[in-house]
């Protein structure tokens, strides 16, 4: 939380992107979250990703529910569309918005309370319906706004700030997302923007349901000894399986790695995901292997991060529903109300 507005001055060498925007132009209001909150770093990573992708702010809609994480859309992309929905209901509102206007880029921002508790069902259904979106959970494993109770993603055996041990089994949103058919699944850490920014860029370019579980320490209530979501704990247990570079369709790809350590995945829009493998045996195109790998590593207390699964040929809700190609608000009256003869035809076909 800061009282003064962030000064408008920027570094004199800050480059504008091809749309004429500097990174600063993608900022929002100054954050009111606690100092040191991981969520602010995720906001900064989103800003960086959108800037690097040369996206125009008005092409993006950011949606959120309730909670610390869901406050953050106020702190980035101040020139974009936004909808702050009811607790846990972000996925439904996003699905509806996406159906109405398929041309926007949808950025759903949620937290572990918003997605793993009150909005658990909403989360599940938006994923299984393959809504074309980026769904980011800012996961701090604690109810920060209500002063530090365990959340549904708190690990069993971890301790609260007051020393209470959590006995409930945790919900792993990555495993669930894989199970429910998400076609781009990643896990990252707010304290590692080198990993996080490309993952967000890849998710934005992905056609289909992209899910990112981003560990984000709560400095006020979950950054102590015994916490498994603290800065030092995550750093000590982070097992990155790969490093991602996102190459946009217009860019040429550089290969500077030994064969076998590099994998290039071409997505729907021609963008390429260049994966530098850290664990050579890990194959992000195999969903079942990914699930098994995650289970095995998680049982050893490791936090597996990186691009965990991607299906480059994925389809989305609109493809499955065979909806009209244009946003609804661009359709003319005659297209929307085709008249009684069209109705006759439909009725006849159903008889």
């Amino acid at each position: 939380m800061t009282y003064i507005a962030k000064p408008k001055f920027r570094h004199p060498d800050l480059e504008p992107n091809t749309r004429g925007f500097t990174r600063r132009d993608y900022e929002g209001k100054v954050s009111t979250l606690c100092a040191g909150c991981g969520h602010d770093s995720i906001s900064a990573a989103i800003i960086q990703a959108v800037y690097e992708l040369d996206l125009e702010p008005h092409r993006i809609a950011k949606l959120s529910g309730i909670g610390c994480s869901s406050k953050t859309p106020d702190y980035f992309l101040g020139l974009s569309h936004g909808f702050n929905s009811v607790h846990g209901r972000m996925p439904s509102v996003l699905t509806g918005a996406n159906l109405a206007n398929r041309d926007l880029i949808y950025l759903g921002v949620s937290g572990d309370g918003d997605s793993a508790s009150i909005g658990f069902g909403q989360f599940a259904h938006s994923i299984r319906r393959a809504v074309n979106m980026v769904y980011i959970v800012e996961n701090n494993g604690v109810y920060g706004l209500t002063k530090g109770q365990f959340s549904a993603t708190s690990d069993k055996g971890s301790k609260s700030k007051r020393g209470v041990v959590n006995h409930d089994a945790p919900i792993d949103l990555v495993t669930l997302a894989l199970d429910l058919g998400a076609t781009y699944v990643a896990r990252s850490f707010s304290g590692d923007k080198h990993q996080l920014v490309p993952l967000i860029k890849g998710a934005i370019l992905h056609h289909g349901a992209a899910f990112i579980d981003c560990l984000s320490p709560c400095v006020a209530f979950n950054n102590h000894e015994g916490s498994t979501k603290a800065y030092d704990y995550i750093r000590n247990h982070n097992e990155a399986v790969n490093r991602l570079d996102v190459i946009e369709p217009r860019e040429t790809i550089e290969i500077d790695h030994a064969p076998g350590t590099l994998e290039i995945v071409t997505q729907h829009d021609g963008s390429k995901l260049r994966l530098r493998k850290i664990h050579p045996e890990y194959d992000p195109s195999d969903r079942l292997d990914a699930l098994a790998y995650l289970a095995e590593r998680q049982s050893k207390g490791e936090i597996v991060t990186g691009l965990l699964y991607v299906d480059p040929g994925a389809q989305d809700l609109h493809d499955y529903q065979n909806t009209v190609a244009a946003p609804l608000n661009t359709l003319s009256d005659s297209q929307l109300v085709p008249g009684s003869s069209a109705l006759e035809k439909i009725n006849a076909s159903l008889r």
Partner: protein
Amino acid sequence: MAGAGRSVALQPTDTKSPDYFHKVVDCQWACPAHTPVPEYIRLIAAGRYADAYMINWRSNVFPGILGRTCDRPCEPACRRGRVEEEPVAICRLKRVAADNKGEVSARMPHAPPQKNGKRIACVGAGPASLTVARDLAEIGYEVIVFDGEKKSGGMIRSQIPRFRLPENVIDEEVDYITGIGNIELRLDQPIVSMKALLVEQYDAIFVGCGAPRGRDLDIPGRVEAAANIHVGIDWLSNVSFGHIDKIGKRVIVLGGGNTAMDCCRTSRRLGGEDVKVVVRSGFDEMKASPWEKEDAMHEGIPILNFLTPKAFIHQNGKLTGMTFEVVAAKYDEKGRRSLVPTGEPDQHFECDDVLIAVGQENAFPWIERDAGIAFDKWGLPELNGGTFQSTQAKVFFGGDSAYGPKNIIWAVAHGHDAAISIDLFCQGKDVSVRPPPVVQMSSQKMGIHEWSYDNDISADIRFKSAHRPLAESLGNLHIESELGFDQKVGFLEAQRCLNCDVQTVFNAPLCIECDACVDICPMDCITFTENADEDTLRSNLTAPALNKSQDIMVSAPLKQTGRVMAKDEDVCLHCGLCAERCPTGAWDMQRFLLDTAKAGACAR
């Protein structure tokens, strides 16, 4: 950064060394007298003009004079000029403090009742000598100041025209010095022999007689038309002391320095209607300060460049004009400039008078060559670097007479250093062992989001100082043409100061590498990265640090990742947001106050 070799990871920056944070305060570092600029600017913003004046007075001795006439080495250095277009108007803010301070004589120091028995002679009553006198009188010395003129002040009084610097300002600030006591001004008493002076029982002698000789121009017609050709600084001095009160209608001023600007503007006030400045060099390379050129042009004085004087034209012993050769600047492969004739026909300008302001020279006709004082081939005294001591141990030099013509603020800085040397010398100590500056660091934290300085950065662009209407100021030599800032504008301009002396202090063991400071920093100054040699590190920063004159602050390795925190000081706004967003207090905003040592600091 000290000790940074290529391909060697940098050592953590030693911020305990006074120079590190001093350099961050660009204005103070650039000021020869190292005046704590942001400190007094904050006091101006707070309406504490007298306090602001006294900080200046301690450091630069002549705040009212310098607030009007300083060469402002601080302003080109000002960080604000790298953040946006223009630096803070530091010089004119100093004037705001001087103009609004009210009565300050009660705050002025007094000589101790007990003198220390040492007597010092100062030759010349200009800024260097007066600074020496002030610093020494206050700690018990008896100082006798000699000057050939009837009034004190040296070039401040003789060369700077009254429309830029009213006489009462000079009188007031000279009086503050003599008011200390133990200072005797012996005016109208030119020193004609150093040997004679050495025989008198002074414990030390300070030579601050300036660079009194204006360079002449030996070209055809100089002798024949001498009646209407004047050497600039002598002419200004004659105007200043009332010996000259008019000049011809058409005047040519030769030279591109500040003296030339004073000459042409003075001519406009003494009857000159068609006054022009003719300069050999190009406009941008002229020595005059940009604002002085601006003021001259504002008074309808054209500046003609790339013209080399060729001859004074005269008829029957009367000057009628001048001819000039047209030249162009050519640069060789080393970037050295030479002015070569273009072959175009010479230019001729008619005129009634010519003022020659093409430079000044040192002259010591009164120092016998066998007085034990060695001079170099340029006629300047050989001085023991930084101590201002000549080869005759009890004689010290300062101001223009030490290293050639500079300006008032350099003279003051020399004066302070020479006074330290004289004090050390008189106490029988080694003059080359210099007393260190006094440095204070104090946290500005008042509460979670509260600082004891105003960290909200003003977006205002530089304010312009008000001027009297031309018709009014051109009519009178004695009426000040520039009005300065009023209190309201002074406040707004003061708010433009970035408080660079409120330092970003980083305590590495407390850092949890949460990136909060990186994310909030509006100027991308902060990066957490692998340590490397300086060049690599500079290029690896979020915003590559290309301005090598500005340091990078590098932390010790951090405990979670072993990376380092690297902060580029170049365009930091000192807004304190890094510290505000820091959850552990690893960042703190601490006021850095550096006072250079003055005479007496380590002599007892």
